[in-house]
């Protein structure tokens, strides 16, 4: 039986500065097999980043549970690509990636990964010298190097130009095929979700609720076809509006 991530969040709220509380997530329950690529799509403010933080174990103040293979998630290797790359500026690209590897681990994997991501020349460079696209790729390498069972990606292609974002998406898919793991990608871009994911979870505006769980039926070999992606989006978008209205 494949291992899976089980998320069952009853409610997550934040305390407002005036002392009241604001509910950001309510009744969010889904499963993700650790070989599956799932995208979460929803408007901004729908609690998508909060959800990732909860799954990653950064936020424990919620009611409900998050389990991986039937156990709490504390020790499982997770890869996280944050919205901003969050590379340590005082460590080179290579050192940033090496930091997350266990002590004594084989570091040749870093060199291989850098080469695959087209970063072979920048291993000794400090992050401040990198373009955003490159820094994002380093962050991706850092997430992959721990050979995670689960990868969490928080809008990793936002504020890149179209061509760069497209190249990065293709790269992500290529690497995912080589090292299969569960991927949970947060995005506000339905096209991006259709291009990448097996399943799409549609979220409502705040407080975020899971309003639809849609399988992407478009075969993977047609995901380069803009027209086919547009057609799939056109099928999914009404569900999003309908569910949000109900």
């Amino acid at each position: 039986m494949t291992r899976e991530l089980t998320v069952a969040i009853e409610e997550k709220s934040f305390i407002r500065p005036d002392g009241g509380s604001r509910i950001v997530l309510r009744d969010v329950a889904f499963r993700l097999e650790l070989s599956e690529f799932v995208a979460i799509v929803g408007p901004s403010g729908a609690g998508k980043t909060t959800l990732l933080n909860i799954i990653a174990g950064l936020d424990h103040r919620f009611s409900g549970s998050v389990q991986l293979g039937g156990k709490p998630l504390a020790a499982a290797p997770i890869g996280f690509v944050f919205q901003e790359p969050r590379l340590l500026p005082w460590r080179t690209v290579f050192e940033n990636i090496a930091l997350v590897l266990p002590h004594g681990a084989d570091q040749s994997v870093i060199t291989r990964l850098l080469a695959e991501l087209g970063l072979a020349d920048v291993g000794a460079t400090y992050p401040s010298r990198l373009s955003l696209g490159m820094a994002r790729r380093v962050a991706l390498a850092r997430a992959l190097v721990v050979e995670p069972e689960l990868m969490l990606l928080d809008e990793p292609f936002v504020s890149l130009d179209d061509a760069t974002a497209h190249r990065l998406r293709a790269l992500l898919l290529k690497l995912w095929r080589k090292m299969p793991c569960g991927i949970l990608l947060v995005t506000h871009d339905l096209r991006e979700a259709v291009e990448l994911a097996d399943r799409i979870l549609l979220f409502s505006a705040a407080p975020g609720r899971l309003i639809a769980d849609v399988a992407v039926t478009l075969p993977r070999d047609r995901r380069n076809d803009r027209a086919a992606i547009d057609a799939t989006c056109a099928e999914i978008a009404p569900q999003q509006r309908l569910a949000a209205a109900s």
């Binding site: 933080n53 990653a56 174990g57 997770i78 996280f80 944050f82 969050r86 930091l99 400090y126 721990v146």
Partner: protein, 253 residues
């Protein structure tokens, strides 16, 4: 090339400025012709005399030892206190007032009280210097602790970095600039306070000798000791603290 050239100009200007200072001193001393404003030669003679008698090195070493002890203790306790204040709000609220009070207490008062309460001992002397410097270190390190980026802390948590790795590679580099600022200001402050403490209640060290030569109105010897010690502190600054700072900031370039 332009960088090397500007470095050369820099060194030249520094040297010229130092020579200018010496020239002003010499001219002033010669035209005053007074025993209370000795020439460079008179001070150099006093220096050589103390050196030959083995006095200079002994007292320099004693003072340097006290500076080192006080510096280490003040940096260690001050850092721990400042970081704890940054970390725990209640701790900060309780201790903030105390730290401000200590900060505003004159060094002389602390030294006198330490001697009165704990006797004319080595521990009282060093303790008084530590108490003087500690609040400054705590204040600076508290700022450092408050400025720690939660983004990096989250990254460390997600990637399951162990305590030591997290401290060594994520936290420390963020605190290092603050630590170096308090180390540099600390060194120059501490050695001056050590002299006061020695002058008040120790029977060796540069401060003690200054007190002795003050009673004899022997300005050449006073200047000899003061300049010798200032030179040592400058050497520590150039040889230790500045290279450390350059190394720590290498990634910025």
């Amino acid at each position: 090339m332009p960088r090397a050239a500007s470095l050369g100009v820099g060194i030249l200007l520094r040297a010229a400025s130092f020579m200018l200072l010496l020239a002003i001193w010499e001219i002033a001393a010669l035209s005053a012709g007074s025993k209370t404003l000795p020439t460079i030669e008179a001070v150099a003679a006093a220096l050589l005399d103390e050196l030959a008698r083995g006095e200079l090195l002994h007292h320099l070493a004693v003072t340097l030892g006290r500076v080192f002890a006080a510096f280490t203790l003040a940096m260690a306790f001050g850092s721990a206190l400042g970081l704890a204040m940054a970390r725990w709000r209640a701790f900060d609220l309780v201790l903030d007032g105390w730290v401000v009070l200590l900060l505003n207490l004159p060094a002389l008062v602390i030294a006198v009280l330490a001697y009165v309460w704990f006797g004319l001992t080595e521990a009282a002397a060093i303790g008084a210097v530590v108490i003087n410097k500690l609040p400054l270190v705590a204040m600076t390190m508290r700022e450092g602790g408050r400025s720690l980026a939660h983004e990096f802390a989250e990254m460390a948590t997600v990637f399951r970095l162990g305590r030591w790795r997290r401290f060594r590679h994520v936290t420390t580099p963020q605190l290092l600039p603050f630590f170096l600022v308090s180390a540099r200001s600390g060194l120059s402050l501490i050695w001056k306070i050590v002299l006061v403490v020695e002058l008040l209640g120790r029977s060796d060290g540069v401060g003690f000798k200054l007190q002795l030569y003050f009673q004899l109105f022997d300005v050449p010897h006073i200047l000899a000791y003061a300049l010798a010690f200032a030179a040592i502190v400058q050497l520590i600054e150039w040889g230790l603290l500045q290279p450390l700072e350059r190394r720590a900031g290498a990634w910025r370039r």
